[in-house]
């Protein structure tokens, strides 16, 4: 499978990656390489195999419903490029 430039452009937009036009063609080639590798994997017959969602056969462990965190807004905001009155400040996004 080979990806065209428009598809690569869409994937970049979805991932919010700013891509120069000159980078489109090389990236399309690299991504197409990954896709063909996955196509190759799909040739394996997995009809009798239960689909997995991870690499082990362990299951999720559960936590008690107890409050054990929070109360440190200063730490949460410490790396924020902008903070105002306990909030993160971001460019205005209004619907």
């Amino acid at each position: 499978m080979s990806l065209d430039d428009a598809t690569v452009r869409k994937i970049a937009t979805l991932a919010r990656i700013d891509l120069a036009d000159a980078d489109l063609a090389p990236l399309a080639k690299e991504l197409s390489g990954i896709m063909s590798w996955i196509e190759q994997l799909q040739e394996v017959d997995t009809d009798a195999v239960e689909p997995m969602s991870g690499g082990t056969d362990m299951t999720l462990s559960w936590r008690k419903d107890a409050v054990s965190d929070g109360g440190h807004a200063d730490k949460v905001l410490a790396n924020a490029p902008e903070a105002h009155e306990g909030f993160f400040g971001v460019p205005k996004v209004v619907e």
């Binding site: 937009t13 979805l14 919010r16 969602s53 991870g54 082990t56 362990m58 299951t59 999720l60 462990s61 559960w62 936590r63 008690k64 419903d65 107890a66 409050v67 054990s68 965190d69 929070g70 109360g71 440190h72 807004a73 730490k75 949460v76 905001l77 902008e82 105002h84 009155e85 306990g86 909030f87 993160f88 400040g89 971001v90 460019p91 205005k92 996004v93 209004v94 619907e95």
Partner: protein
């Protein structure tokens, strides 16, 4: 109660499916130990997991799992003993991880049903497609700064149940009934408080239309985050009419997400989420499959309360109530408990009438809920006793009830204090009758001359004479006797 839209060229039917996000009642969040209380200082209830900090791992809260299973059982739904969490990818300022942890292919709860109680007493079944667990996003506030939006992550990571219906509803009324019933069920179960105005229950409506008689499903639009039952119903109606207008003028509907503006009474397109439908779900590599066994499900089943549908059935069979009355009484479990206290050992229909007509009327007028009722169930019961043992008449009882609503007093006390006891002694009633007859000798003549209809007028006059307290049966009998020539 069919809802059809008459267009220029055709008559149209509306097809509605609802997605409800219900905030789970729990102390801590779905994947972190931060608290969930409403209205705390900004970012004070945020762990590094909720803030999407690198290297943090989510660990599931056992109560979130239990509440989802409990809700699934309440919806008579299939419980999936193995489910999987997936990442739903999108960019938004209040979603710090860049994805929401949700469930996609394997949700914790599968197909179920909800029975709608319509206002005409009929019932309808609506299919539930699924219920899955997911994280809530943070909150954006746009009016605190001229050029910035402020982000509060307190809600980020709080447990939501997304409950998705089949496209089984055909009118705004049915959508309203669905939301009210779902709210009633989660409140009975104690899994969500159901407050739409605080945002702990939010609704997205999927709306499409089709010509009557057709079975096709046309392109739908999703109307997002409508925050009251009334607005959901309005939004659906507006959106359906918009579709009809577009189809009839030769246009086509694009699948898109829209917002309802209750002030303008219209829906409009959301601008920001252009790629909203390309979420690129994949299993979350941070989370193993969620697995439990039959014993776990049974142990939750054993603690389920009597739910509204079963209670309604019981009220209809044990108390001989109509479907409508039973349906109204079971919406809130507090109301049904109140009713059962009043009905205990009394005429259940009289009890239902007093609760539904008089008490609900008074509470609505005051804008308070039944838990704050100035009239206790015990006192309302006593009032009914006073009528049934003939201490007071039904008419006086209404006056006594008014006083109870204002003063919260015991009805026996009110009746005694105000001298409202029914007059049952023949002498006093006869004296009143004689007085009225003496004052109206012309009317007595007319009556005796054959004008039978005047009897009612005489009853009214004698009642007035006794301050409404004469026993109506005795009054009628004595009056006839006295008036007969």
């Amino acid at each position: 109660m069919t809802f059809l839209i008459k267009g220029e060229t055709e008559t149209w039917e509306v097809v509605i499916g609802l997605e409800v996000h219900a905030q789970v009642i729990s102390n801590a969040k779905l994947f972190s130990g931060a608290p969930t209380d409403f209205g705390a200082e900004p970012n004070s209830q945020v762990s590094f997991v909720d803030a999407g900090m690198p290297g943090m791992l989510p660990v599931i809260n056992e109560v979130a799992v239990e509440q989802a299973v409990r809700t699934g059982l309440g919806l008579k739904a299939q419980i999936n003993k193995r489910s999987v969490f997936a990442r739903k990818n999108y960019f938004y300022a209040d979603l710090p991880q860049g994805y929401q942890i949700s469930q996609f292919e394997l949700p914790i709860v599968g197909e179920g049903t909800i029975i709608l109680d319509m206002s005409d007493g009929t019932s309808r079944e609506v299919g539930i497609e699924r219920l899955h667990l997911e994280q809530d996003a943070g909150k954006s506030i746009h009016d605190l700064h001229p050029s910035k939006s402020f982000i509060d992550l307190n809600r980020s990571g709080v447990t939501l149940m997304e409950i998705v219906s089949n496209p089984d509803m055909r009118s705004p009324d049915e959508a309203g009934a669905y939301l009210r019933k779902l709210r009633s069920i989660v409140r009975y179960l104690g899994t969500c408080d159901g407050n739409m105005d605080e945002g702990s229950m939010r609704c997205d409506a999927n709306v499409s239309v089709r010509p009557v008689g057709s079975t096709e499903l046309r392109t739908r639009c999703e109307v997002k985050n409508v925050n009251s039952v009334r607005f959901v119903m309005q939004a659906i109606e507006h959106e359906a009419r918009r579709h009809v207008d577009i189809y009839e003028s030769g246009g086509d509907i694009q699948q898109e997400t829209r917002l309802y503006d209750p002030n303008k009474g219209e829906t409009r397109q959301m601008r920001s989420k252009e790629f909203a439908h390309d979420y690129r779900y994949f299993p979350d590599p941070d989370l193993l499959p969620l697995v439990f066994d039959d014993d776990y499900v049974e142990s939750i089943k054993a603690t389920l309360p009597e739910l509204p549908d079963e209670k309604k059935e019981r009220f209809m069979s044990d108390y001989d109530l109509t479907a409508y009355d039973a349906g109204v009484l079971v919406v809130e479990k507090e109301t049904s408990a109140y009713y059962e206290d009043v009905a205990k050992g009394r005429d259940p229909k009289a009890a239902a009438n007093w609760v539904i007509t008089n008490l609900f009327g008074a509470l609505n007028k005051k804008g308070i809920s039944i838990t704050d009722s100035p009239v206790s169930a015990a006192n309302l019961g006593k009032l009914i006793d006073l009528i049934s043992d003939d201490t007071i008449s039904g008419r006086i009882a209404k006056d006594v009830f008014e006083v109870m609503v204002e003063e919260g007093e015991d009805p026996e006390f009110i009746v005694d204090e105000r001298g409202l006891k029914q007059i049952r002694d023949t002498g006093s009633i006869e004296a009143a009758i004689e007085q009225v007859m003496a004052d109206n000798s012309d009317k007595v003549e007319e009556y005796r001359g054959g004008k039978d209809k005047l009897l009612g007028w005489f009853v009214g006059q004698v009642m007035k004479q006794t301050g409404g307290k004469a026993n109506p049966g005795m009054l009628n009998e004595l009056l006839r006797k006295k008036l007969s020539p």
